[in-house]
Symmetry: C2
Subunit: 242 residues, 2 copies
DNA sequence: AATTTCAGTGAACAGTTGTTGACAAACATT
DNA sequence: AATGTTTGTCAACAACTGTTCACTGAAATT
């Protein structure tokens, strides 16, 4: 048992064993999965993808069944247990992926080195692209944020809080709104993130190919953010009683 | 068939038939359900209550089953169909109830004839009382708002939009923030309502009897609203190009 | 008083669910 | 080359699901 863990660690360190075990079929046409761990990871992520795909079809995660997922993933139900103890554990994996997506959004936003004019509109554009690109993760996060099982709900809440914290630290580092206290800055970021996620729900629920409706939603989103930041600018910290 | 509908209508007009059909048991101890329609309504609402009760125990509506609900309500599964075609229809009934709750919240808020000082804090207090009083409706609305089945999701969206509209009309009538255009006022109300519902999720998810945490959440909620209204005050409508 | 209407019951159905244990074959380790 | 490890499969299970049909008894109508 301990040996196994050790060898897995080795696997992760040695990147390429130099494979090429002579197989009959050609290398390029049939992709020939190399190591065992790789294959395990592959079916694992096909399970995760199956869950997301089903949710994309309108189902909510909480209503998904184990068998349903394995069916969609193209494996036999019992295979599920080789990867997750139960549905909750799969859900938590999805939460982690969603958190990673959020974090990468933040990384992308950091590149945008602040030319202060119309920064909101441009951030929203970035956000929308992200939204459409990883719409399934956002649907999951925004959808189960206050709907799903308690375990998953609180896991999502943690990830979102982390995101809020990181965002507020970013703003501080950029010396954005320097007159705000740390607590107020975090409150602001919480408000912004909630608004973001609500907008995500709205945008992702849209019937496809309705450009005017989409534009309306986006404009509304931008207006809301403008109003929030306008409030942040004229915010006065209450003075502590002497 | 038409007769039936007619007699039902009569039932609703004639308030008291003068009942007192001589029954063995006393009037006060055993409540003796009077008319048939009343009894039907009673089990109907016991089905609705059963759904809400189960959700209170951490389940999400989408994951509830028909049998589960009838079991909780204390009737046999087949009785369900006397009241609802399927779970979606029951869900829609819950949405209606939730909408009524929202509307009554608005009615309550109207009584508070604006002494502008600290109006936000007092509104939040009203809101919190409402939240705790009808916590199950709010859990349902806030939870399934972007989680549940598409039918229910869009029904909730309608109710919430209606609420937003009504709220914006109220503000206009009170001559509150008269420099805002109607569209902006609605945008503002949408933002406020989203913030309200997010706060509802947070507050209702709290572990019970943690007064300091509760106070933190409420303070944060108040701060967010303050910031929003601060933004609304200093909002300048863009001038249309001449 | 006779008749109709109907909310709630009971038994039964076909289908699906989560979970178990034994097994095969590809892989990894010795 | 021999041995152990492990991913995925198969068959089977008890439990539960939504839905059907015929039925009962009391309330409502005639």
């Amino acid at each position: 048992m301990r040996y196994t863990r050790y060898t897995r660690f080795i696997k992760e360190v040695i990147v390429d064993k130099g494979g090429g075990k002579s197989s009959a079929s050609g290398r390029s046409s049939a992709p020939e999965l190399a190591t065992r761990d790789e294959r395990k990871l592959r079916t694992r992520s096909s399970l995760l993808d199956a869950a997301l795909t089903l949710m994309q079809q309108g189902r909510s995660f909480t209503s998904l069944g184990l068998r349903e997922i394995t069916r969609e993933a193209g494996v036999v139900p019992t295979s599920f247990y080789r990867h997750f103890r139960d549905m909750d554990e799969l859900g938590l994996a999805l939460v982690d992926d969603g958190g990673a997506t959020l974090r990468s959004l933040l990384r992308e936003a950091r590149k945008e080195s602040a030319p202060v004019s119309d920064i909101i509109r441009r951030s929203v554009t970035i956000y929308k692209e992200f939204l459409l690109d990883r719409h399934m993760h956002f649907m999951f996060i925004a959808g189960e944020r206050s709907g799903g099982s308690p375990v998953i709900r609180s896991a999502i809440r943690n990830q979102v809080n982390l995101f809020v914290l990181e965002m507020s630290q970013d703003l501080r580092r950029l010396n954005f709104l320097p007159h705000l206290s740390t607590a107020t800055l975090q409150m602001l970021c919480g408000l912004v993130v909630n608004t973001m996620l609500n907008a995500a729900s709205d945008i992702l629920d849209m019937p496809p190919d309705e450009p005017t409706l989409e534009q309306e939603l986006l404009d509304n989103f931008v207006k809301q953010l403008r109003l929030i930041f306008l409030g942040a600018i004229s915010w006065k910290e209450p003075v502590a009683k002497p």
